[in-house]
């Protein structure tokens, strides 16, 4: 798909500025960005502003949303669901970001090396990538977490390890594309060191699709963490959105909101991330724009 965007460098002055202008014109993406900013803001400052301990039992269990001053109601222990959602935002987003970061680092390194050196390096790295594509991601992550302990770092590693292949493939194909371009040929013949070419010449030009993919990775990492937590493979001392769903799951029949609300939180966050990702895609690859 990306083979079509062959002429990004043609755009005159400040391509990033142009991209921002295009992004701004995309209302859905802009809305996504605004909501996402609010969510991140809430995750960082929310606990201090809201001021209620998400772990403290305050009230009768299963008090429905809006009753007795609890906006989102209370859970099975009578803890404030609103406070839990805010606290959960932090964990879910941190895991999402760090797992995505990890998979982007692995993916970009593998893809860059493969696309840059080609030959046997590419062969080996792409076989490894294929190998990780074949692994059943969730099952594999479940086993890692079960065997080595359900701590947040381990969960992050488990998610990162199984989800970098898409980034690697995209990075490689971008590198292959850019290899063929004139400015690359020029820098190569001027005798610049390979690592420098890789990171300061090719990578910046390969960034747009990688950025888009990374944005989407954050979303899928949040979903992935939610899946693991739903199955109970999570650290019981911290609250995350998936964990709220998992531990309230047995009450879905009577207190459906305890499952619906954190689900909505995940849904909105991931939705905003995809909207922003879409916007980035349109803004950075104008040729691919559908309309």
């Amino acid at each position: 798909m990306s083979d079509l965007t062959t002429d990004a460098p043609h755009v005159s002055q400040s391509p990033w500025g142009q991209a921002w202008r295009r992004f701004r014109g995309n209302y859905a993406a802009l809305l996504g960005l605004i909501v996402l900013t609010i969510i991140i803001f809430a995750a960082i400052f929310g606990p201090a502003i809201y001021g209620i301990d998400p772990y403290e039992m305050l009230w009768a269990p299963f008090s429905p949303p809006g009753v007795d001053g609890f906006w989102l109601g209370t859970d099975y222990l009578g803890r404030d669901l609103m406070a839990q959602i805010i606290a959960g935002a932090r964990v879910s987003i941190i895991i999402g970001l760090s797992a995505a970061f990890m998979s982007v680092v692995i993916g970009v390194s593998v893809g860059a090396l493969a696309g840059f050196y080609r030959g046997w390096v590419e062969e080996v790295l792409m076989r490894i990538t294929e190998f990780f594509q074949v692994l059943p991601t969730l099952l594999f992550a479940m086993v890692i977490v079960a065997l080595f302990g359900a701590s947040l770092p381990m969960i992050t590693v488990a998610i990162g390890v199984v989800s970098w292949t898409a980034v690697a493939r995209i990075t490689r194909s971008e590198f292959l594309r850019i290899r063929e371009l004139e400015f690359f040929m020029a820098s190569r013949s001027s005798g610049t060191r390979p690592l420098k070419i890789m990171f300061s010449v090719i990578l910046p030009n390969a960034l747009p699709p990688i950025i888009v993919q990374s944005a989407l990775m954050v979303g899928s990492a949040i979903l992935f963490e939610a899946g693991l937590s739903f199955l109970g493979l999570t650290d019981p001392n911290v609250v995350s959105w998936g964990q709220i769903i998992g531990s309230n799951r047995q009450y879905i029949l009577d207190a459906g909101y305890t499952v619906t609300i954190p689900g909505v939180a995940i849904f909105i966050t991931v939705l905003c991330i995809s909207l922003v990702g879409d916007g980035l895609n349109d803004a950075l690859n104008p040729k691919l724009k559908d309309r």
């Binding site: 269990p61 222990l77 009578g78 019981p236 029949l253 009577d254």
Partner: protein, 523 residues
Amino acid sequence: MRHIFKGLMTATALASMVATSAHADEPKKGGTLVTVLGSNVRNLNSAVQSGIVTGFPGAQLFASPLRYDENWEPQPYLAETWETSEDGLTVTLNLVKNAKFHDGTPLTSADVAFSVEVIKANHPFKSMFAPVDSVETPDAHTAVLKLSKPHPALMLAMSGQLMSIIPKHIYGDGEITDVKAHPRNNENVVGSGPFKLVEFKNGEHVILERFDDFFIDGRPYLDKIVMRIITDPAARAIAYENGELHMGAFESLPRIINRLKDVDSLTVTADGYGAIGPLDWLAMNTTKGPLADVRVRKAIAYAVDKNFIHKALMQGTASDSTTGIHPDSPFYAAQDGYDLDLEKSAALLDEAGFPVKDGSRMSLTIDFGWPGVKPQVEYVKAALKKVDIDVEVVSSADFPTWAKKMGTGDFDMSWDTVFNWGDPVIGVHRTYDSSNIQKGVWSNTQGYSNARVDELMAMAAVETDDAKRKALYAEFQAIIADEVPVYHTNTLPYHTVYNTDKVGNPPIGIWGTSTPIDMTYLK
């Protein structure tokens, strides 16, 4: 608080009595009972596998010498009559003459002797038949159990799912210890119980069919039992409500129980689990750290609010429990509880030498035995924070990891559910016996040791006089409650759910569904 529960219990007891008498009209024959197993069964041979999921199909496939009525009175089953000698060292079982296995082979005393050998070698409850030295078989229908010491617990151990008589001609083809992995434990199973196996599909269902040559004439009433395996409690609840399931047992989620109680077509009862005797408790490791001090353990008991657990967590579905013996057991002697008293708790902690420093007295960990008690664990964490004890929840991803931690005493506190399994000798002693310290999971994992308690248990184990035995257990329970190696909070609220208009005579004796349901019928 206790009065409310007592009141509730009497009310349900009355309701079920009325129900039983109303049902006492002619049982109908025929029909397929659709029921449910709440977790995946993997072994149908209850002679080598414990657990309630094996118990339900196991007790239908295999018959045992005795069965019990709801008043804890033994009734004839495979044994027509039985007698215990004066010295209590010989128990003679006179077997029914017409019992046959599902393959047509007659059941004889040799099968009884063989089964005792298999159970002794493979079943985890070693105390059940430990005093049985040998089983003599003077004739085909007489089995004589020779004991090394009097063993009153034997009566309950010969009922329910605990003493399944398995055919020697099928399971005796290899080493005794190999029966545990016998291929016919889950396919082509042959027993002498009221139902025979039609199909066992791992993860999906167990289907049983009426055994026409069952040794009790005219029974069972049902033609077929379909046991679906549905592990999600919410899915089970929906299935009860929309009539997909006629009956189910061992439902323990308070929220779901209360929901189902409101459904007109269903009867939901807590009766019938006395011998299973499931207790929820907070175990404390007495061998290390602050918890070695009884004052700290008491302080924790005073800080954990039983009232909250009963009202908020159990939603009024559970009974109070104050000792290691289930309140439905004839041996139960209620003790004074530790009513919430944060001041007393703090004072005890100060006295034990744990003053508040930087907002914290000490840090402890808490494990949990199964996901169902996670709310309790989270509650303990929050409750102990009020007396400045920091608690970290530890979760083990898999059972073996947790079992190893428990079995080797690698924990501070642990919330778990442990069963009485009939007589205290079988399911209670193991928790407090100082010769059973940290011998694997569900042993005396707390490392509790008290010479008087050991002595009381030893005496009660061989005491054949019921009243004297009760007195011994009363003293035992008083000490346990006072020294709190385990803080007893409540029973696990197991409930049986059945469709009132469809199911007649559901199993509400003492063994839950770990008992033959040959008298259950469809209306």
